[in-house]
Every structure is written in structure tokens, then in C-alpha cells.
Symmetry: C2
DNA sequence: ATAAAAGTTTAGACCGGTCTAAAAAATATT
DNA sequence: AATATTTTTTAGACCGGTCTAAACTTTTAT
């Protein structure tokens, strides 16, 4: 049984490793966890004796199979809870993350299975992120940043890369949501901003930054 | 903002003080919290500087208004979560306590208000215990142990005093649930056991112990 | 009233997690 | 190749919570 803190480190390492494919540096972990490098070194030693990560002094860490499995379970719980909060309790998508950050650490296999069932075995959370199944399997959908999409082709919003409340609130305000249909009407070469048409109805300008954080499919 | 541990101590002290009416001894707290007296003394000092309890060395502690308010909020969350688990996730009443023991510490006012609403503002939990409202108000129902009820009068099960899984499972097995109608057919003077009729259908013998742990109303 | 027993607190230690300051190793610059 | 810079680790401390062992206070028994 992992501690609250161990779970959070593992989740961070999993994220930074791009799903287990690359080594992660001490400072990166410190950054994303909002702690100091010294604290990371300590924790990383603990996780490595538990065989959740491989650790080579001065060369960063690599997450192991077991570590990934644990991380994926935490992510599963996080996303199921976010889905619950939005679907059942009428939270808006910008309000759920912090609460899910707490709920993801509740220890009960039964609870998470029952919650999954109650929600109808959802495959993605309110931000379009895939929910790992009970075996940690995630069904990835190939999606691209809206910023890389061509002009005048209809695309559908599938997820956001930045899930900060301010970005999500902004999206809601201008009428963008998961599933929205979007056509790029014009690209401004100078600053990368684009004019888009949302659901064939509303024209708005969004910045390059915003366009990069919207992932779409055909 | 209280820590996980402070909340648990406060809840224990509230319980032992009979709703704030009597002083609580160090060893009682240690017992119910499964810790040692020395640990209790330490924590009790911390809670008293926060004005959540009054503490007089060697003479036990008394819970303050603020302490009670905090305790009641934890109890509110505990019971709302238990209700959620049974009503929405199909847990049985003997499976919910330990999970609720974790969920009760999630910090989010919005969450608990939305949960309350989602559940239809329930006033009692799966064990018949009253759920404090957002102001900490509990609506008490006068109820008596089944063991003190007279012969041949119909009573209704309102709550259980012992909520242990084994007792709850036993009750389910013999057909007793919150709301069940019960008539005492015979009392055995010797050991206090009673023969009862459940819902006018099923006759069973239960021990004095069991009869004392069932609270009923007319 | 004195001694024994029971209950409580203090002293000092440990664990998990964090930090700062200093040392060490790796990388970049010249 | 030597030096400067950046990154990482170590050493030592602190905090919240816990424990054991010893000291102290209160209660009970004689
Ligand atoms: Mn999230
Ligand atoms: Mn977390
Ligand atoms: Mn309970
Ligand atoms: Mn608790």
C-alpha cells in the first residue's frame, strides 16, 4: 500500500516520462510537484527500493512496470472521480481537478469498481482524457493540436492539454466544449492566432496558445 | 483547516462526550482511537491551543462549541458518504464504514453540498443515524433499545448502536433492516434473549446483546 | 494516614516528508 | 584541458504524529 505522497510522485514521474518511455530528471519532478530537488532525491530512493522506479544517481529515474501500473490506477481514479463530479454532481469542468486530486487517493478497490459501473464505464473524463480500465489499459485516440489543422476543414474538439481552471472557463465562455465542431477560417501568420467558427455558428479569434492546447480529430 | 488526525480525534471526543455534555478521559480517547495515552496527551494539547477543546491536566477534556461544530461537519460528511455508497453505488450497509472513514476527510464545501443535494437531503444514514445539516443541526428521534420494549407491541427498527460489519451482516441474514416491523413474542428471563416476529412473517430468537443494539420506535 | 494501584503526563526517540546549506558530480564555456 | 556553471546529492534540521519508559498525580485499598 502506497502513501498519499508516493502516489503523487509516481503519477508525476509517469506523466513526465511520457508513459514510461523516457528518463525523468530530479529537477523536473521538483518543478511539477512544487517541492525542492533535495526532497525529490529522498523520495526517489524510497520508490526505487520498492521497485516502482529505477534510479541511477545523477542520471534521473525510469518508471518500472509496477510503477506504471500504480500510476495508472491513480490516474484511473482521478478521472473517474472527475467524471462523477461533472456527470452526477453537476460540477463544471473547471471545478473538478482539485477535488479529484484528493479523491484519487481513497483506498478501496470495491469503491472504484462500483463507481466505474455507476458511471457506465466511461472511457474519457470531462477534459477528454482517456480513463484507464481496471487493467490499466488506455484506449488512445490520435489527436492533433488545433493549431496544426488546415484551413476550412471541420475538426472536433477531443481534449485539452492545459486543464487549468482559467483556460477551461475561457473555453466555456466562448462556447468551446469537448465535442464541439471547429473550422479554422483564417490563420494569422504573425502571431499564430486563428479565427475559428464554432459549431457553424460563432466566429471568434483565439491565440496560438489556446489553439495549441485544443486537441482535435477529423 | 484541520488535519486528518485532528478531525478524527475531535470526532472521537465528540462521541465520548455524549454530544458535548460530559468530560472525556485520556484513556477513553486512546482506547477508541487505538493509540496510546501518551499520544492522546500530545494531541489534546494541540487541540486545546486551537480552542477546539478545553483541557485540564489530569482531569480530561471538554469539547468546545467550535470543536463540536467541526466534529459535526466530519460526521455529516461521513454519513452522507455512507448514504451515497448504499443508495447510489449499491454497497451493502456493512461495507460502507471504512470507506466513509476515508471520504469524510475530503476537503471541499462545494462537494458536500452537491452530494447532499444529489442524495435528496437525507436525514439519516444507512444505519439509521441522523445526518447533521449544513449548520450542524441534527434532528434527533427518541428511540429505545428493542430489549426494553414490551411484549406483543409492534415496534419499528430505526437504527443500530453497534455498526460492526459482523452484526450488520447477521441482521441482514435474519431479515432485520432499518424500517422493519418487530413484535416481541417472548422474553427469556434467564439470559435476556427474546423471540421476535419480523414483519409479521418470520420468527427468530435473538440474544440480549442483539436486542440491546437495535433501537426502535412505536 | 499510608501504601498500593490506576491513570496521566513528560522525556526522548523514531518515521515520513519536507527544507536549507554545503558538497559533489556532470555539463558547458573558454 | 582547465574553469565556470548547472544539476544533483548529502548532511543536518524541523514538523506532525506516534511510541516506550519513566515520572508524576489522583484514586483506591488497607
Ligand atoms: Mn484532473
Ligand atoms: Mn493527488
Ligand atoms: Mn460509519
Ligand atoms: Mn476518519
Amino acid at each position: 500500500m502506497l502513501t498519499f505522497t508516493e502516489e503523487n510522485y509516481l503519477k508525476a514521474i509517469y506523466r513526465l516520462s511520457d508513459g514510461g518511455s523516457k528518463a525523468v530528471l530530479t529537477n523536473e519532478i521538483a518543478e511539477i510537484m512544487s517541492t525542492k530537488a533535495a526532497s525529490v532525491t529522498d523520495m526517489v530512493k524510497k520508490l526505487s527500493v520498492k521497485n516502482l522506479i529505477g534510479y541511477e544517481k545523477y542520471y534521473g529515474v525510469t518508471i518500472t512496470r509496477e510503477g506504471m501500473a500504480e500510476a495508472l490506477m491513480v490516474i484511473r481514479k482521478h478521472r473517474l472521480w472527475e467524471t462523477f463530479l461533472v456527470e452526477k454532481l453537476n460540477f463544471s469542468w473547471d471545478e473538478v481537478h482539485d477535488v479529484a486530486e484528493q479523491l484519487e487517493h481513497i483506498q478501496s478497490g470495491l469503491l472504484i469498481e462500483k463507481l466505474d459501473e455507476f458511471l457506465g464505464f466511461p472511457t474519457s473524463d470531462p477534459h477528454g482524457h482517456p480513463i484507464p480500465d481496471r487493467n490499466g489499459k488506455i484506449q488512445e485516440v490520435r489527436q492533433h493540436p488545433l493549431s496544426e489543422s488546415p484551413l476550412n476543414k471541420k475538426r472536433f474538439v477531443r481534449s485539452v492539454t492545459d486543464g487549468s481552471p482559467s483556460f477551461l472557463q475561457y473555453l466555456s465562455k466562448i462556447g468551446i466544449y469537448i465535442g464541439a465542431g471547429i473550422v479554422i477560417l483564417e490563420k494569422v501568420e504573425f502571431d499564430g492566432s486563428v479565427e475559428i467558427l464554432i459549431d457553424g455558428k460563432k466566429k471568434v479569434f483565439i491565440s496560438r496558445d489556446a489553439a495549441q492546447n485544443l486537441l482535435v480529430t477529423d
